[in-house]
Each structure stands twice: as structure tokens, then as C-alpha cells.
């Protein structure tokens, strides 16, 4: 598959959608300052950090734990509890297949299987070239047009397993952005 061929090359340089640690520490410190004194600041700080970095590296968790004066074990406990947080780097595009009830009964699972086969990854994994991460979601609020797949912020509706190749096509190339608006019937 073409998009996997670039995997080796991309391993050396981090994809540009993630900021580098040293650039990010001052930004994170700003966030921490903003929440200092706010009760229950840990989760908002972690959320902002992950939004910036794409994931939560261990060094950053240690930094946050020191800054907020919360034991590292507690920080790590919170990170592992919530499925939103991830400590491993993510793909450039996140594909979320809705497995809410409406999507499930209208074939969401088959869509998930087809995507998983196409990309050779399971739920929770990232392709070797760091292009795609695959996840499941629970109801995106578009049940009327199930089954639904979200790629980054775009919602695709009435997705069919047989159309997965076309669906992913625009996202393989890093220079191109998705245009497809799903299918109307």
C-alpha cells in the first residue's frame, strides 16, 4: 500500500502536527498558571496539554505533577482512567467510527472492520507512517444518518464498507485536505 511506503522516512522526523517538547514547556507553564488556584485544575491542564502535543509524554506528566504539586501516581492514575488521554503519539488524522447504538444497528461494526482491514490497524492503534489513528466513538449526534465516521473534524454519514477506499483517499496524501461531504441519498 502506497501510504505505508513512507513509514521509514517519517519515523526520523516528527510529523509537524505535533509541537516539540522544548517549544511547548513555556506554553504549558502558561496554561498551568492560568489554572493555578482553580480547584480541580488537573484535568483541564491535561486536556489543554494533549490538545497541543497530540499526546501526553511521560516527561510532561512529571512536569505537570511537579508544577501542580500533585503526586505523579495520582496524575498517572487520572490519565489511565479517562479514555480521552493517551500517552502514545497519534496519527496525523484521527478516524473515529461511531459505534453508538443507531450506527451499530445500521452497520457501524462492518464499517469499522473494513477500515481496520484497509489500514491494517486495530482500534486504538496508529498506522506505521503516523498518518491515521483509529478509534471508536459513541454517538456523534447524527444518528439519523447512520452509520457515521468522523475523520478529524469532518463527519461522514451513511458510510458503506464498500466505499472505505474512496473515503480515505483524500487523507493519504499529506498535502491534500478532505473535501468529500459524505453521500446523500
Amino acid at each position: 500500500m502506497t501510504h505505508l511506503a513512507t513509514a521509514e522516512a517519517s519515523k526520523t522526523a516528527p510529523p509537524e502536527h505535533e509541537m516539540k517538547m522544548e517549544d511547548v514547556v513555556p506554553v504549558i507553564n502558561d496554561i498551568i498558571e492560568r489554572y493555578r488556584g482553580t480547584k480541580g485544575a488537573l484535568i483541564p491542564v491535561l486536556q489543554s496539554t494533549q490538545n497541543l502535543l497530540g499526546h501526553l509524554p511521560k516527561e510532561m506528566l512529571i512536569h505537570i505533577s511537579e508544577q501542580l504539586d500533585i503526586p505523579y501516581s495520582e496524575v498517572a492514575g487520572v490519565v489511565t482512567f479517562y479514555s480521552f488521554f493517551t500517552t502514545t503519539p497519534r496519527g496525523k488524522h484521527t478516524i473515529r467510527v461511531c459505534l453508538g447504538t443507531a450506527c451499530y444497528v445500521r452497520g457501524g461494526k462492518e464499517v469499522l472492520e473494513a477500515i481496520s482491514k484497509e489500514l491494517h490497524i486495530e482500534v486504538g492503534q496508529t498506522t506505521e507512517d503516523r498518518q491515521f489513528s483509529l478509534e471508536i466513538g459513541r454517538c456523534f449526534g447524527a444518528c439519523g444518518l447512520a452509520p457515521v465516521v468522523m475523520i478529524d473534524d469532518m463527519v461522514f454519514q451513511r458510510v458503506k464498507p464498500s466505499r472505505i477506499k474512496q473515503l480515505l483517499e483524500p487523507y493519504y496524501d499529506t498535502t491534500q485536505e478532505g473535501e468529500d461531504d459524505g453521500e446523500r441519498e
Binding site: I43, I70, Y82, F84, A102, V105, C143, Q157, S162
Partner: protein, 595 residues
């Protein structure tokens, strides 16, 4: 009207994702291009509820209901409808009963609905506070600040008989009263917008379409119970709702409706938004409060109830979004008015997310006591694709199935529980003959197992065992004894689990086993899945005498499991087949069979 026409474009999530924004822009551009920009106001509103037909555009005052609009249609809509005053027939909704329909009041989907919670969704621009105010917005708050005592507010809620819409149906006035009576230096108001039921999205639509209705109610609660700080705990997966809440809060602050000295009354109240981080159990109130405190979201045993000892140990009113959205109307129109809607057991309305194999899926709000038949057939238009109704699942992963015999049951909190299901948050999933009961039960069980926080063992271990037994049955390895074992485990979980997640997780199994025992037996004894869903029990096969070798199926198969030359009989490689059923749908010659 100040404008000749108002054009309302649905900006709910379902429509937004199908290009509502582009349609909005295109309509604006066309108004300019055709010189009617000053006579027409184009607005982006919240969800109209009729998501099946999205994107939807409504034009007032004619009340024309245009469906499945594309940006390219803008030119014609403006040129014909606005400029020439002729409806664009081709784009009007015409589906119900073969009659030509144009106006909202003609559409069956809306006829039996009664909107309190969704009163403004689809009518106002949620990003403009003035539109909310124009529809009696913040009138209730004024009343509460200047005319009513705390006692009056609570008495009004008591007369109304409002029960919590988050699932359990606890009387709202009692919660508020506990918090009001609790002695404390600080109290909190919390909105539960975690909306965990994987088939429900009314809370999201309410927040997207009418955020002020929730803000206003929070301030009213603050004044009533003596709290100055509110939190909205909302799923991070709801970016549009979060954005609209932020805009609404900023506008309310600017107008002196939020913050210090609200409307000069001397009362201070502020609100903070907290984002959920992807844990279903955080919808449970004690877990939610733990999450706001920055901890792992695990439930703690109640009592003490949050109303007395909640966030940071302080008395806390926590209610569901839909509950909140009722409050202002009760204050404006009176508890008496509200209590006359619905049934004796449950007053008011309920919003349901009608989805699955239904013709008109979408959000519907009906008075309590409406029958399932009315919702499914009159509003929902019946089963999609002419199939046979099999069951409806209410209450999400905590609920159960209801069968044909019970379609005339008037639904309220009590009647659904009596049928072995529950109201839950209002998910209503319609199943047809193609849906396998065992498969659906497995879906819900796996959901509950994934989402169990693991704190107590009945839920953690019991749930896992139930899921394993279902898996075994759906693989064709089930034994008769498994059924009794499932019931035994399920009953134990109901009694011994710490929170309602574990207590209700067995419901989908227990209720489906009660109504559809035969279907379980088919899987166990005959090793067959009557609906053709359980993949281990079926295979797709090409009938040699029917296949004409058109190659359509081979081209569509996502895993290239079908081979064959043009005009020759094709074959499916059973080892490679993922049983997605695409070939079955594709073949126009009835040459593919499910066995």
C-alpha cells in the same frame, strides 16, 4: 415582520456536518447577488429534529419546509421563493402519505409533538441572546430575582411535578429543597451534560440550539438554593455545543445576566465549563463530581446524596440538561400548567432520540403518556424499507426491549419500568427483522463492560462473565445451562453493584431473554441466527444458477474475497470473507444467499 422573509438553516450537528454552513453562506451570497439582502434575514438555528431529512432549510412566513438542500440549491431558492414568491416544489418535503406537503404543521413528524424543552430549537439563532430574549427568555429569571421567594420557586416546581430527565426520575423540587435547607458557606449548581447513552443526543441538541435555556435555569437554581457558582460538565466530543455555550455565557455576562450583581439585584452567579474526558461512568452524579474535582471518576456510595454533600463536600444541585431546559417555562407558565401535561405519574414532556430502522429518525418531544405506537408509526413514519417491526429498545445500556404487544402502552417513568425497560435518557432504537436480539444484547453488554469503572466486583466480574456467555452463544457454542446462568449472574449484579451502571447492565439480557427466548434457543439448539447477523452462524454463498457473472460484487467487496471472470460464476473465499454483506446488497440478481 421587519423582513420579507426569514430563512432558517438548521445548524445542528447532523445538518452542520452535511454542509449546513456552506448552504448558509451560499444563501447569504445569493441574497446579495439577487439584490434582496435587505429584505431577507438568513439565520443559522439549532436542530429542527428531523435529522433524517437534513440539511433542512425553513422559509418564513410561508413556513415552507425544504429538505436535503445542497449549497447549489441556494440560487433557485432565492430566485423562486423569495424574489418571485413561488415555492420550489422540487425541494419541498413531500414524503408523508403521498400528499404534497409544504408547511411544518402538515408534516406528521411534527403533528403529535409538543415542545417545551426544544421550544426554541430551530426557531432562534442560538448565538444571539436577543432572539432568546424575544421568546420570553430571562423572563423567569427576572421573576425569580424580584418577585418570588425561594419557597415560591420550590412550591412551583413541586406543583409542576417535574422529575429528573437524566434517568432516575427523581423529583426535582426535592433535590433543590435539600440543598436549600443544607447549612453551608458554599453551594454548587451542576449541569450534567455528559450524555453517556450511546444512542441519545437530545442534550447536545438542546445545548446547541438553545444554550440560554440552561444558563437561565442554572441562575434561577443558584438564587433559589443560595449558590454563586455553577459548573457545566460536558463531553469533549461536543465541540459545537461547547462553543455555543461559551458564546451564550459571554453574551449573558455582557447584558448583566451573569456575573456580579445580576440585573442589579445584588445576586452574584457565575458558571464554568468543564470537559468530560471520555468515561461513561462520569455521567453518574457522584463520579461526575469526582471528575470535576480532578480525580478519577469513580462513583461513591450514596447517601450522602450530592444535594447535601456534593462537590468538594458542599451541597450541590445536579440535574440533567433536559431537566434544566424545563425550568424557565415552569416559572413563566406556572407549575399548574406543566402538571396538566403528561400523566399523573410523570408530568411534562420527554424528548426521545428516535433512531435505528425507522423512516423518520430524529429528535421528538412528546407529552408523557404518548404511546410507543404513536411515536413509532405516526411520528416516525413506521419501519424503514418496508420491513417488519421487531422491538424497540429504550433506556440505552440500562434498559431493555419492548415488543409489538406493548406498543399501545402510554410511556412514562412507571410504565417503562414495569415492562422491564426504563426511561433512561430517552434513546429509542427501533429494531426490525434483520436485527438479532442476541447481537444487540451483546452490544450493550460490551458497552457496559468497557465502561465499568472496575471499582466493585459484581459489575466488573459479573459483566465480563455475561459478555463472555453472550459471545459464546453468538459463536454457536452456547448451551442451555448458559441461559439460567446468565439470569443468575444478572440478578446478582442488580443487587450487589455499587452504582446504577452495574445494577442496570444486565437489563438488556434479562429483558431480551424474557421476550425473545426462542431466538436465544435458535442460536443454542439449532446453531442458527434467524436474523442472519451472528457471523459465526452464517455464510454468504453465490448460487451458481443465478449468478450471471456481472462482477459487481467482486468490485464492491472490501477485502477482495470474491473471484471470477466476467460472465462466469463467481465464488466467495469463505476464509477471507468478513461477512460485511456488501455483496449481498450489491447483487441485483438475487444470486447471493445468506445461510
Amino acid at each position: 415582520m421587519a423582513f420579507r422573509n426569514y430563512i432558517l438553516v438548521c445548524g445542528g450537528t447532523a445538518c452542520e456536518s452535511s454542509k449546513a454552513n456552506a448552504i448558509y453562506e451560499a444563501l447569504l451570497a445569493e441574497c446579495k447577488a439577487q439584490g434582496v439582502a435587505d429584505e431577507v434575514q438568513v439565520l443559522k438555528t439549532g436542530c429542527f429534529g428531523f435529522c433524517e431529512q437534513g440539511p433542512i432549510v425553513k422559509i418564513l412566513p410561508e413556513d415552507s419546509f425544504y429538505v436535503q438542500i445542497k449549497p447549489e440549491d441556494a440560487k433557485e431558492l432565492i430566485a423562486e421563493h423569495v424574489v418571485k414568491g413561488r415555492e420550489v416544489k422540487r425541494l419541498l418535503y413531500t414524503k408523508d402519505c403521498g400528499r404534497k406537503h409544504a408547511r411544518v404543521e402538515d408534516i406528521e413528524f411534527y403533528q403529535k409533538q409538543f415542545r417545551i424543552v426544544l421550544r426554541n430549537c430551530g426557531f432562534i439563532d442560538p448565538e444571539n441572546i436577543e432572539e432568546y430574549i424575544a421568546r420570553e427568555g430571562y423572563v423567569a429569571l427576572e421573576k425569580v430575582l424580584f418577585e418570588m421567594s425561594s419557597d415560591d420557586v420550590i412550591a412551583e416546581l413541586r406543583t409542576a411535578g417535574l422529575r429528573g430527565r437524566g434517568g432516575a426520575g427523581f423529583p426535582t423540587w426535592m433535590k433543590w429543597n435539600f440543598t436549600r435547607q443544607a447549612e453551608s458557606d458554599q453551594k454548587f449548581i451542576v449541569v450534567n451534560a455528559d450524555e453517556g447513552d450511546p444512542g441519545a443526543y437530545m442534550d447536545r441538541s438542546t445545548l446547541e440550539g438553545d444554550p440560554h435555556s440552561v444558563l437561565e435555569a442554572m441562575i434561577i437554581a443558584g438564587k433559589t438554593v443560595g449558590s454563586n457558582q455553577g459548573y457545566i460538565y460536558i463531553r469533549a466530543e461536543y465541540p459545537l455545543a461547547i462553543k455555543r455555550l461559551e458564546i451564550a455565557m459571554a453574551q449573558a455576562r455582557e447584558m448583566g445576566l451573569l456575573g456580579k450583581n445580576i440585573l442589579g439585584s445584588g445576586f452574584d452567579f457565575d458558571i464554568e465549563i468543564r470537559l468530560g474526558a471520555g468515561a461513561f461512568v462520569c455521567g453518574e452524579e457522584t463520579a461526575l463530581l469526582a471528575s470535576i474535582e480532578g480525580k478519577r471518576g469513580m462513583p461513591v456510595p450514596r447517601p450522602p446524596f450530592p444535594a447535601v454533600k456534593g462537590l468538594w463536600g458542599k451541597p450541590t444541585v445536579i440535574n440533567n440538561v433536559e431537566t434544566w431546559a424545563n425550568i424557565a417555562m415552569i416559572i413563566v407558565k406556572g407549575g399548574d400548567w406543566f402538571s396538566r401535561i403528561g400523566t399523573a405519574d410523570s408530568s411534562g414532556t420527554k424528548v426521545f432520540a428516535l433512531t435505528g430502522k425507522i423512516r423518520n429518525s430524529g429528535l421528538v418531544e412528546v407529552p408523557m403518556g404518548t404511546t410507543l405506537r404513536e411515536i413509532i408509526y405516526d411520528i416516525g413514519g413506521g419501519i424503514a424499507d418496508g420491513k417488519e417491526f421487531k422491538a424497540v429498545q429504550t433506556g440505552g445500556p440500562s434498559g431493555g426491549v419492548i415488543t409489538k404487544e406493548y406498543l399501545d402502552t402510554p410511556i412514562d417513568f412507571g410504565s417503562l419500568t414495569k415492562l422491564g425497560s426504563m426511561m433512561g435518557s430517552g434513546g429509542m432504537i427501533i429494531m426490525d427483522e434483520d436485527d438479532c436480539i442476541v447481537d444487540v444484547a451483546k452490544f450493550y453488554l460490551n458497552f457496559s463492560v468497557d465502561e465499568s469503572c472496575g471499582k466493585c466486583s459484581p459489575c466488573r466480574i459479573g459483566g465480563r462473565s455475561l459478555a463472555n456467555l453472550l459471545e459464546k452463544i453468538s459463536k454457536g457454542n452456547g448451551e442451555l445451562a448458559d441461559l439460567d446462568q446468565m439470569i443468575e449472574i444478572g440478578e446478582a449484579m442488580k443487587k450487589a453493584s455499587l452504582c446504577a451502571l452495574g445494577q442496570t447492565a444486565p437489563n438488556p439480557i434479562l429483558s431480551s431473554l424474557h421476550y425473545f427466548r426462542d431466538e436465544y434457543l435458535a442460536h443454542i439448539v439449532d446453531k442458527k441466527c434467524p436474523a442472519g447477523k451472528c457471523k459465526s452462524l452464517i455464510s454468504y454463498n453465490i448460487l451458481p444458477d443465478k449468478c450471471i457473472g456481472c462482477t459487481a460484487c467482486a468490485r464492491k467487496c472490501p477485502v477482495a474475497a470474491i473471484s471470477g471472470e466476467r460472465r462466469e460464476v463467481h465464488v466467495i473465499d469463505q476464509a477471507a470473507c468478513i461477512k460485511c454483506g456488501v455483496c449481498f446488497e450489491t447483487c441485483k440478481f438475487g444470486a447471493i444467499e445468506v445461510r
